[in-house]
């Protein structure tokens, strides 16, 4: 089996109960696995279920371990490796604050337009941009903003869903 490091996006459906996030995070820290990003929110209020999307990296053997370890947590209803299971859509949202005046301010607005970032707040010396897209797109936008007065970034981490008509089962 390959020793190459792979990056996987994994969706986990869990009971929305206290401590569940600690169980997942504790599993990763306790066993020395990576978490690149983790997002969680209730997605099925009627059944009190939350969906965790996490991005992790490791060798194939580690990725398989991570999925097996997640699956055996008692409040976990299902684990899907979106990276393995075919095409899926990944999105991340970021709020990015850029402060400045003059030419730099105008340049940031121009670049935001190219990236289809929205201005959600502005003062005479700052903008907050809202941008949605792949992790790479957000990284590129943040990098471009750095010389233009980037002061703050808040990102959601990746959310993802499989393409096609099937739901999470």
């Amino acid at each position: 089996m390959s020793e190459a490091i792979e990056r996987h996006t994994i969706a986990v459906l869990v009971d929305n109960e206290p401590g569940i996030l600690a169980r997942v995070v504790g599993l990763f820290s306790g066993r020395g696995y990576n978490i690149e990003s983790l997002t969680v929110a209730e997605t099925d209020p009627a059944n009190n279920l939350s969906r965790i999307t996490l991005v992790t990296s490791g060798t194939r053997m580690i990725i398989e371990q991570i999925k097996a370890q997640l699956s055996r947590l008692v409040p976990v209803h299902g684990v899907h490796d979106l990276t393995d299971e075919g095409p899926h859509v990944e999105r991340e949202l970021a709020l990015i604050k850029v402060a400045g005046t003059g030419e730099k301010r105008i340049e940031s607005l121009r670049l935001a337009d190219i990236f289809r970032a929205k201005v959600v707040d502005s003062t005479t010396e700052s903008f907050i941009f809202e941008i949605t897209g792949s992790t790479e797109k957000l990284n590129a936008f943040v990098k471009l903003m750095e010389p233009l007065g980037l002061v703050d970034v808040s990102r959601t981490g990746v959310v993802a869903i499989a393409r096609g008509p099937r739901g999470f089962s």
Partner: protein, 588 residues
Amino acid sequence: MSTEPMQGAELLIKALVDQGVEVIFGYPGGAVLPIYDALFKQNRLRHILVRHEQAAVHAAEGYARSTGKVGCVLVTSGPGATNAVTGLTDALMDSIPIVCLTGQVPTHLIGNDAFQEADTTGITRPCTKHNYLVKDVRDLARIVHEAFYVATHGRPGPVVIDLPKDVLFASGDYTPPEAVTHKSYRPQVEPDPQRIEEAIELIRGAKRPLFYGGGGIVNSGPKAAQLFTELVRTTDAPATLTLMGLGALPASDPRFLGMVGMHGTYEANLAMHGCDVMIAVGARFDDRVTGKLSAFSPNSKKIHIDIDPSSINKNVRVDVAIVGDAGRVLEAMLAALKRRKAKPDGEAMAAWWRQIDEWRKRDCLRYRKSDDVIKPQFALERLYAAVKDRDTIITTEVGQHQMWAAQFLRFERPNRWLTSGGLGTMGYGLPAAIGAQIGNPGATVIDVAGEASILMNIQEMSTAVQYRLPVKVFVLNNEYMGMVRQWQELLHGGRYAESYTAALPDFVRLAEAFGGVGLRATKPSELDRVIAEMLRADKPCIVDVLVDKTENCFPMIPSGAAHNEMLLGPEDAGGSKKPVSEDGMVLV
């Protein structure tokens, strides 16, 4: 659903009784007083008062492992719960079904650093299979039933239920066990038939097969051990067992090669190294078994049967993975073998057995006999001779004595060998023996101990005396933490840092001080008499066996070495004395 509301503590007792609990091991305290009050008013549940909460969990483990039932524990909040943590971790590592009830401060005080408050669910999250904090009395009965389901289904393990004091006083309705189904937890029990066929195909083509059985067989129940024995006999293949698996195959079966691993037999380890098809049943390729991973059984196809999918491909890559309960999988394999009349090649098997007989001739457990000083191995041989025709349950502490006990005592059936395998908890043996004796009043229960380990939970002598439990503590006393001393001799240039215990108590008088019987053997010639006296004692008994202070436990696979690089004892003529590598030193 129910007749009339009950108080939380009463609901709890009712739920435990409905789950078949007969005995609960515990220690009272402020937060659990309502439960003790409810216990006082009934006579269906028997409470065993231990002297330390760690011992409560080990006693419950001993009870569970020797009876196949769930072990039940009741401790108070704060220090009661934190003291239980070692026992819970032990049960998690060895997959023992435990339900541990912990008291908690009232809900309105949680998070306030209240007296005897600890974040019990936070602390026990990584050392339990699952845990619960009951915030509403209406959830109490359901959670108890769920906890028993979780503890016993799939890979067994400990479950904690944290019970705030106000919830125990509040009134609520009872939920019967039948009304509870778990929302999400559905472990796979039945194997995939396709995988069974693949396994049979491998076994049929095997020239040098080896069965490698572990604690999963014991956990699955006596039926699984019978099926494992039948499978081994049907294929006439050699079989080894892990420390946790001893008893899954009768030790008297000629196909049994002895224990595998760091202190396993020469023939078992070399068979593991040299086999071409390995059938792992309920064993998890632990580092004490595999030795150096890159050199582990390099030429074998591996079949791995385990109820826990996360055990598969964790340490060792396997070729056929069968997820399921050991008993169900073995049943399916036996049926498939019989249907297809599949058997390994007879001629190749004869050659394999000839090779194994060669290895056996090495007589790896041989030790230097002495008429003056008691060799620990000899003491265990005499002990075994005296108890082999009784229904005997052996528990151990952790260290050299534990490994010698695994090598020299022989187990004909499961649930009769209780040892802390995964966590390696010194202080396990005496409380485990107490739990085993409670669950098996007619059995002879012996804790094979070292003088260092026994002091870690010696206070439980008081428990044994209180309940008139005739447990025997057979102390192999060499005045050293023997395994530490052995490693210091072999790996650290004989610098015996802190491994010698000065000022040991007089164990005979200590036993008597507790109200038990104390005996001592100082010469080999005294052993049989002392053992006979110990077996006659109708009270808790400590036998102080003064053994050779510097005897080492062999064979030994040093850290970082492979199975074919094992060290044999001084009695072995051809024994290799390979120094331990620097890489090996960093491994424990």
